[in-house]
Symmetry: C2
Subunit: 270 residues, 2 copies
């Protein structure tokens, strides 16, 4: 399930899992997928989802939730999966990922096969309006972006990219283009990574808050994306009670909503 028949691309390789029997999988946090030394949360969630896709024998994540238990550092990880239900259309599973015997990430998910269903009964929204990718702002590790940004290709809307030079928009929003390098296709599993790949919305808010560790992250996948750049929008409405939520939408080249996401993170004071 986890390895396509042709040579896997860099993202597929860096998120691959190896079955070790009895629902256990081996994997690794690869170097270079980090932000300030900690592996990107969407990258880690993708690894857990691959183990559960293999364990359930399904092709696509439908709804995947991760709870982050400790920071991810490069090195081997063990994934213990448990299939909770094998249904006709969907399967459910739970995975606990551990690194050096310490809990890293727990994953609860529903998996299935996302067949094309063209009926759109309600679409109250639209992809973000973005200048062409070449007119947007790349996130480039050689110019100060975290190493993770060298593993994916982001192009931010210029209005949302000012934080990098200290000119915040004042609006807790980030929009932009996403794809994988080397023309590696973005499948439904890679959407889990895309949904956590952008800089935090809080970077654009004029609020004295620091680094925001993720507590919980859920992605709903609606459809298999068409090949090509994805348009993404991340917004925040409430920073209260010591928490912030980030809501994401991912739209494909056919202007279909292919995924929705929400995460809850802590907001320590700066």
């Amino acid at each position: 399930m986890t390895d396509p028949p042709t040579t896997p691309g860099p993202f597929a390789s860096a998120t691959s899992v190896t079955a070790a029997g009895e629902g256990v999988y081996g994997a690794a946090v690869r170097p270079g997928w980090d932000i300030a030394g900690n592996a990107n949360g969407g990258y880690l969630l993708t690894i857990g989802a691959r183990a559960l896709l293999d364990a359930t024998g399904r092709a696509d994540p439908v709804s995947v939730t991760g709870h982050y238990l400790s920071p991810g550092r490069p090195g081997p990880i063990d994934i213990a999966t448990r299939v909770l239900k094998q249904g006709r259309r969907f399967s459910d599973g739970f995975a606990l990922m551990e690194a050096a015997g310490k809990p890293l990430l727990s994953v609860l998910g529903t998996f299935g096969e996302l067949v094309d269903r063209p009926e759109e009964f309600l679409v109250d929204g639209s992809p973000p309006e973005l200048p062409p990718p070449d007119a947007c702002v790349p996130m480039d590790p050689s110019h100060g972006s975290p190493p993770f940004m060298g593993k994916v290709e982001l192009r931010l809307h210029p209005d949302d990219a000012g934080f990098a030079t200290g000119v915040t928009s004042g609006v807790p929003r980030v929009t932009g283009w996403f794809r994988l390098p080397d023309q590696e296709p973005v499948d439904t599993v890679a959407l889990l990574c895309a949904a956590d790949a952008f800089p935090p919305t809080i970077f654009n808010a004029d609020i004295p808050l620091a680094w925001t560790p993720t507590v919980e992250f859920t992605v709903h996948v609606r459809a298999r994306p068409e090949p090509g750049w994805l348009r993404c929008r991340f917004t925040t409405r409430f920073i209260t009670g010591g928490f912030i939520e980030v809501d994401g939408e991912i739209w494909d080249a056919r202007s279909r909503l292919v995924a929705q996401s929400r995460q809850l993170a802590l907001v320590p004071l700066a």
Copy 2:
């Protein structure tokens, strides 16, 4: 943890759990908490959360996700919990609820103590504007509402209640007041029930769709609610790919956002 020192109210009793050792809990789906014979999803999630609160020794749910594996019928249930992490501020746990040996609901959650944090850095929203409860529309089982509606007290905004008489608003939105009968306080655990207590948004949409079984349901609790009626808003933006999401907000008597929720459900054609 699960039984307050005074006599528990009807909701607390109907969602109580009994520790049986080694992380296992006994509980029951009580009669009368159903909609067309199936127990309400928020009610079931509350039972699972109570087991995990006891297992982790925490007071409040922070983020709780449930995946619905089979319909809940009245009768005993077994809950196997596993504490995944005991941290300083938060604990994480997983629970599998089974009825008659069949998986019913899986729950993944983060728990802690929600101390009052008055700083509100960003509030991009407000409680729904509602007529006073007495000027709103009660959901009354003696007038055709499901039995569950006799266990909670709902008062719908008249603009959102027309579906009951066949006059839909055309807007996939439901707003209204929520409380528990007999002045039983709504604590942070009862918020999990409140977030799934209202009629489906789809009842107000002019779309030929039937009953929507829930796949996944997540509630983020931001604060302990003040005593009194809660104001709730449920909206839907996308009915595509065979799925519908329902986003919820719950505001307390002090006009603070106390919970956000999202669920993903299937949309079988009518």
